[in-house]
Amino acid sequence: MGASATVKAVTRDNPASRRLMEMGVVPGVSIRMVKTAPFGDPIEIRLRGYNLAIRKSEAEAIEVNE
């Protein structure tokens, strides 16, 4: 929670990967974990000055450098 990281890569086999990249989740961008929804999914992240909700299954597509 509240941890920041830099995106290393976005895997291609996830159905959401293209959408994620279009939304600005590309290598080199810094993202921050904001919170988890009440039932454990989805999660909220922040990048490029805005907030984005994604499911955990989609978050798996994002590889980060700690």
Binding site: V26, A37, P38, D41, P42, E44, R46, R48, L52
Partner: protein, 692 residues
Amino acid sequence: MNVDGRENNGNGADLRPANHKSKSNLIVALAGNPNAGKTTLFNFLTGLKQKVANYPGVTVERKEGVWTLGDTTARIIDLPGLYSLDATSLDEQIAREVLTGELQDGQKPDVIIAVVDATNLERNLYLVTQLFDYDIPVVVALTMVDIFEKQEHEIDTAKLAELLKSPVVLVTASSKKGREELAEKVIEIAGSRPEAPIWSSAADEIGENANIFARYNFISNAVQESVKHNDLEKHNFSEKIDRVLTHKFFGLLILIAILLVVFQTIFTWATVPMDLLEGGFGSLGDLARANLPEGILADLVVDGIIAGVGGVLIFLPQILLLFLFISILEDSGYMARAAFLLDKLMSRVGLHGKAFLPLMSSFACAIPGIMATRTIEDRRDRLATILIAPFMSCSARLPVYALMISAFFAGQTIWGFISLGAVLMLAMYALGTIVAVIVAFILKRTVLKSPPPPFVMELPPYRLPNLRTITQNMITRSGLFLKRAGTVILAISIVLWALMYFPRQAPISPAVSETAETRETLETPETSKSAEPVDDAETAKAAEAKAEEGEHLKRSYAGQLGHLIEPVIAPLGFDWKIGVALIASFAAREVLVSTLSIIYNVGKDEDEKSETLISAIRDAKTDDGRTVWTPLTALTLMVFFVLAIQCMSTVAVVRRETNSWGWTLLMVAYMTGIAYIAAFITFQGGRLLGFS
């Protein structure tokens, strides 16, 4: 449509002018991310000069308006809110076709206004880089600049314009200056050769994603050069608000509270204008009755058109209120939070988090609920939501529940203190919801099976809803609703009226002799009127008139249909009269009450609390003398009404929104089927358990 070789080619040529003189009738496309302030700008530029229709063949809305720029006018096409132009959603496909001219008989827009949220520059500019690909001049309209500057950021628009090779205009909805400058730039740039910035692909990346990376690289550099950022995180008020509103515990509590307030308001506030409208249509009917010559025309106008269309129009206040709330929740940014809170719960059934609101709305009325599904991007998810929305117990079912409960369960309690009526009422709402969940579950695993669509959803910053956008939205929605009431609903009302009116021989005055006559022609001559003893002369006269009406009904096509379906509904404990009421109430559920009143000869003005209607129902006998209505019949009828479609407006709106008779008829079929089976189980099961 292919328009090759059309004759008015000359007009088309005029729209691509080479000089300033003939720059009338420009076509301007308005493109931008969702929440970038596109709608506000559109309303701001066009005022009330706009129209909403659907793109041919699809359910994406086409919004167009006229913008007057000095001595020139422009047709503004408001594209759907987009994040990107190359993904595969319907909105994106439509936007592409507008930009390539495919949807305007080959006319490409002359200028694109790219609406860009200054507070969210990087992601907003991504779409702009894609707009450059269409070889159309682009003007960038920067919105939310006031908020941006409050956050102590500074933007060098000249630098940004230089980097983007396109004019950049600051627009705030509250000032006229931005609008004038925007008009100037659009006129200036229209017809010029578009220039686009060049970006090179990142060297270390190959394949289809290289393009995305290259665009974002270009954007990052452009933003770095033109914007002086403050510490972004210091001003993030929305995250602070969300500490409460999407809190694990309080977030859900607040969501429930908001919904309760919304529904309470819709039910209570709307009753005042609804009663007024109902009274108004009543007086209108009386007026028409008084001024039209007695006969078929007066009957058609009063009983068919005014009663039918009026019966639907009285729901307008509820629809307006619901859209008021939906607009506020959506505009403020809360709707995305509701979807965020509930996505997990909804996805267990196979629905998207965004399906929640349309389904909740359907408890008031399925029509705005179904219209609200437009926010769901995935076609299959949207369809599944539309197809289950009518299971939610809408306000039109209330009169039916109320009549049945007050006739057979009034004053009864469980354990001495819980009202049986309230429990039954709650049970009906629960039954509808449970069946909806089961149907959604089945649909999403069979015909609408699809991999769960990505839930990549922006949580936009909280903003004060724009009054103008909200009123505009309400006007547009009610306009669409009224248009439907004037066409589809009018037509079906007339048909239903005719079914209940014809065949009609000469006016039957002496009821007795007429009845004798009919006895010869009809197979089931017994009537139940004799069950009601008539005492004084006045009531006798009134009763006679009502008896006449009942007799008409029996011989009408609707009455014949009632007899025809009697064998089918007999296992549910319904006789042909209930059959007629079921057929008539296909127009709208609450019609059941007025139809039962006609059938049981207690006059048309009875409402659900009417003592006479209640006693008439209690005393009604079948043709062979048995009591028609028992508490079990009442319960069966309630169960049937929870699940059956019984609303032509819903059928019409589902047809419109799905753009398919196939899906619409499937819904009608399975709702009726499920209703029948559930009613059958209720009635036969109840009998087995010893209830009567």
